[in-house]
């Protein structure tokens, strides 16, 4: 549940309550969360079907670091363990000196963002926020969007990602893993929230 903790408005030094950004208490709820106590190859939210009658959309909020011996890794996903070439993607990102965009079709996974590699500055975990839109529809292909960034000693990216899963089936599971297939490091955190419709 999103809760407004501190609220203020500047208006000739009068203070007012905020508008809660359009959210009504109870419309946005924590479903489950993983904070890795040790490195792990992937994270799977495997019971998404259980929430189909409660939520319209899902959001994953995460910070992650990869065991890859590099400063950079990427984040990818699959729905319902589908390893077919049923995913397409686009991204728009800034790399610190310019803006780039590209895409690809007919891949066997989708992409969602950046992950610090294990040669990155210590204690740094890349942030990513993923929105899964209408995951329980049985008439639509599934679309996912994400905002992600990485800012360590050498890697400087911030980007928007969109992925398409060309399947009209209801989403029952979400697999998150690094593109290098290296483990997520201990301390990586993955939280799943549900948004009511």
């Amino acid at each position: 549940m999103i809760r407004s903790m501190i609220r203020s408005t500047i208006n000739n030094e009068q203070w007012y309550k905020s508008m809660r950004a359009g959210n009504v208490a109870g419309d946005y709820e924590l479903i489950e969360s993983y904070i890795l106590g040790s490195s792990q190859a992937s994270v799977v939210f495997s019971n998404l079907g259980d929430y189909s009658s409660t939520y319209k959309h899902l959001q994953v909020r995460m910070v992650a670091r990869s065991a890859k011996a590099d400063t950079f890794d990427a984040l990818r996903f699959r729905f319902n363990a589908d390893t077919g070439n049923n995913y397409a993607r686009h991204f728009l990102w800034g790399n610190g000196s310019g803006v780039e965009s590209a895409g690809a079709a007919s891949n066997n996974r989708g992409y969602l963002g950046f992950v610090d590699g294990n040669n990155a500055t210590s204690s740094v975990y890349s942030p990513t926020i993923i929105d899964i839109l209408d995951p329980y529809s049985t008439t639509k292909n599934k679309t996912v969007r994400a905002l992600s960034g990485i800012r360590n000693q050498t890697q400087t990216y911030v980007g928007l990602f969109s992925s398409l899963w060309m399947n009209t089936g209801s989403v029952t599971s979400l697999l998150l893993e690094t593109d290098s297939v290296a483990n997520f490091m201990a301390g990586s955190r993955f939280s799943l929230y549900g948004i009511k419709g």
Partner: protein
């Protein structure tokens, strides 16, 4: 505008600013826990309607957007703000129909829990009616 004594009971924080500045186009910045050291870095990407650009920053505050006389909205997602084993990372979106759209990834190189968030506009003031709101995401 400073939010202080922030409890550690949430997972993430979301700062939402809706307003404008009294003049100029200057940085809209964040600082945590009163830290004025050179511990903030960032990377941004933006489009102005006629051009795109990306840059990096490092300094004594984190620039999460720019504030001018055109009304803007900035949303900053401050992740794992109470963790004591991580640098603090935050993702910001800036939208101003009269100026630009921009996204920023920032890092505060400190593993301490955030208990104070300062939002400010460099070299200018907010106009009356500007709102600065801080939300907590359930843990």
């Amino acid at each position: 505008m400073s939010f202080s004594s922030i409890p550690a009971s949430f997972r993430d924080l979301v700062l939402v600013v809706d307003g404008a500045a009294t003049g100029g186009v200057n940085g809209a910045i964040l600082r945590f826990n009163g830290d004025t050291g050179s511990n903030y870095t960032g990377v941004d990407a933006q489009g102005t309607g006629s051009s795109t650009g990306s840059g990096t920053s490092s300094g004594t505050s984190a620039e999460i957007g720019v504030a001018g006389t055109d009304r803007f909205v900035i949303t900053s997602q401050i992740m794992d703000y109470s963790a004591t084993d991580k640098h603090k990372t935050f993702l910001s979106r800036h939208s101003s129909a009269g100026d630009r759209v921009r996204m920023t990834a920032s890092r505060w190189a400190n593993t301490g829990a955030i208990n104070t968030v300062l939002f400010s506009i460099t070299g200018n003031s907010y106009i009356a009616g500007t709102t600065v709101s801080l939300y907590g995401i359930a843990s």
